[in-house]
Amino acid sequence: MPVIELKNLKKTYGALTVIEDLNLTMADGEFVVLVGPSGCGKSTTLRMIAGLETNTDGQILVDGKDVSALEPKERDIAMVFQDYALYPHMNVAKNMSFALRLARYKKAEINKRVTEVAAMLDLTDYLDRMPGELSGGQRQRVAMGRALVRDASIFLFDEPLSNLDAKLRGQMRAELALLSQRIEKNIIYVTHDQIEAMTLGDRIVVMKAGEIMQQGTPEELYRTPANKFVAGFIGSPTMNFLDGTLATQAGRMVVQGESYAIPLPETYSQHLAGSDGQPVTLGVRPSSFEETDSDTALPMKIILSEYIGSQSVVICEFGGQRVSIEVNSAAPVKIGETRTFAVKEAEIHLFDPDTGASLLPASKL
């Protein structure tokens, strides 16, 4: 399997620059997920790798060879589209074998591959159905089958699950994860759904406005987001952000807000010592609160409770701001009551309010 490198990749449509200068290396056999809000350039990047869009500038290297001038069919790629893009006038078998038939494979070989892949995807009984006679999930599998039959070395997925309903999406996500373990190919997967990204990717590349915000394993992105955008994008329910200033209280660094002072852990306090008065944005995940009576605990007035199952997300008001806190559903909460929560120090994130960059020392990122 090849290494794919994007070097100084640029894409403009007329006066509109979608991607300015993108650099990314995808290792051999890696499952890379490009994730970001719509319009961030993730699909455009994928389509440039596929050869469906030409790059305005820069290089797309596959094993060191620049493929950016090649036709899609010369790039050894297979692609699964968001709307499946099945050929509506061909049955499932014909859909899956189209590429092989164009490449003039022997009939026996075509049959063998189609049968194998159909068995792998549970499509054997549907081989002579037309796409219009299939359900959404089945169509999705045919689209994947069509890519698998090709045995290309790079697989591109363009939001393949976003047209499915929530339940089916969960099932297909698991199937896709299993499949990716089995086929051991380079996979580049585009999605706007951070849960898909977290569960599927070996490595996640978070994009915004044509730029890479951060890349890393799902855990790295979750534990040490490099900026406020990644922090807010990865993780569900989303992180709370509170504004404050740095201060020293009784020999400890704290973030001083309107009605609170939250002490900072060592990782920050050493590094930020002497920056009293600097404005910061404090980031706390809903799961980073714990209920306690200690003197640093903050009184929170519960205004809404969202029951999810074993956990509930309660939305609280304090100091004129709203925060969401994950609590165990076993302890019932009453709307309107005030409880005291403390922030787990080790799970605090600090960001520069202007640039959004994390204030963690560079060595920890």
Partner: protein, 305 residues
């Protein structure tokens, strides 16, 4: 009791105006033509005075050399014209299916011929085909070639009316094929590119099959229309030389006006009508079948969700 009766009658009362219009505007004239075809009827007579001759008009037509000639001229004309128009129209659509500057202006320009009155089209082409002052022969002469007997020789005249009709009606097929082409799902074309289809292969294996429903309807519409062609040929050749370009519509018109045989003209009309009816029914059933298939597929897919 009365109320339920009134309720039952309500739908029919709403239907009545439409039914009356249908009866007056469609059934009556149609019945009139059918009845007239059984008469030996001269335009100077009132219809009541005409002699009833039963099927004689139809029987005579089958042994009428000139009618048979015009019948086959029509078939030949329709088949050639519609094939040519389909080929050129669809081909043009493929060529012009791209986003270039000024494309919409170009498209409008392309469909202009369709908007010109057929009489004007006939006159225009008659001047262009003129043996001495027409633009074709003058151009040929200027280039040092012999001039052509455009409308003077039977075969040339037939070719000439074909050219004029193709010129006028290619845009119709072009515009419908282009519309069909532009509504094809973009991602399917991209999937074909990824699967390794060349431009020709994606036209042959993907685009044409997907456009087929529209193309078939377009084809039938044009076929039906071409069977009824009259004005352009009337102005260009008036059926001549000899009977070489006398299509059925023209024959009917001449039978009624020149030969003053309204009954025979009516019988001819009915034969043409039957032919067109068969084509229309073919189109109707094709529509029904595709609709049914789409519906069945949808419900089957829904069941398995």
């Amino acid at each position: 009791m009365n109320r339920t009766l009134a309720n039952r009658l309500t739908p029919y009362m709403f239907l009545a105006p439409a039914a009356v219009i249908l009866l007056v505007a469609l059934i009556y004239p149609l019945g009139y033509v059918v009845y007239a075809s059984f008469l030996n009827w001269n335009p100077s007579q009132r219809i009541g005075q005409a002699e009833f001759v039963g099927l004689r008009n139809y029987i005579n037509l089958f042994s009428d050399e000139s009618f048979r000639e015009s019948f086959f001229v029509t078939i030949r004309f329709s088949v050639i014209v519609v094939s040519l128009e389909m080929f050129i129209g669809v081909g043009l659509a493929f060529l012009l299916d791209r986003n270039i500057r000024g494309m919409s202006a170009l498209r409008t320009l392309f469909i202009l011929p369709m908007m010109i009155s057929p009489i004007v089209v006939g006159l225009m082409w008659r001047y262009m085909y003129h043996p001495t002052v027409g633009v074709f022969n003058r151009t040929l002469k200027a280039l040092g070639f012999e001039s052509m007997p455009w409308l003077l020789d039977g075969d040339w005249a037939f070719a000439s009316i074909i050219i004029a009709d193709v010129w006028q009606w290619v845009p119709f097929i072009f515009i419908l094929s282009l519309a069909a082409l532009q509504t094809l799902p973009q991602s399917v074309m991209e999937a074909a590119r990824i699967d390794g289809a060349s431009g020709w292969q994606s036209i042959l294996y993907i685009k044409l099959p997907l456009m087929m429903p529209v193309l078939i309807i377009t084809f039938l519409l044009r076929l039906i229309d071409s069977f009824k062609v009259l004005e352009v040929i009337l102005v260009l050749t008036n059926g001549g030389p000899g009977l070489s370009t006398e299509v059925m519509a023209l024959r009917i018109s001449r039978t009624a006006t020149e030969f003053r045989e309204l009954g025979v003209a009516a019988a001819m009309s009915n034969i043409l009508l039957l032919l067109l009816l068969m084509l229309t029914l073919a189109m109707f059933f094709y529509n029904k079948i595709t609709e049914k298939r789409a519906l069945r597929q949808k419900s089957e897919a829904a069941e398995e969700m």
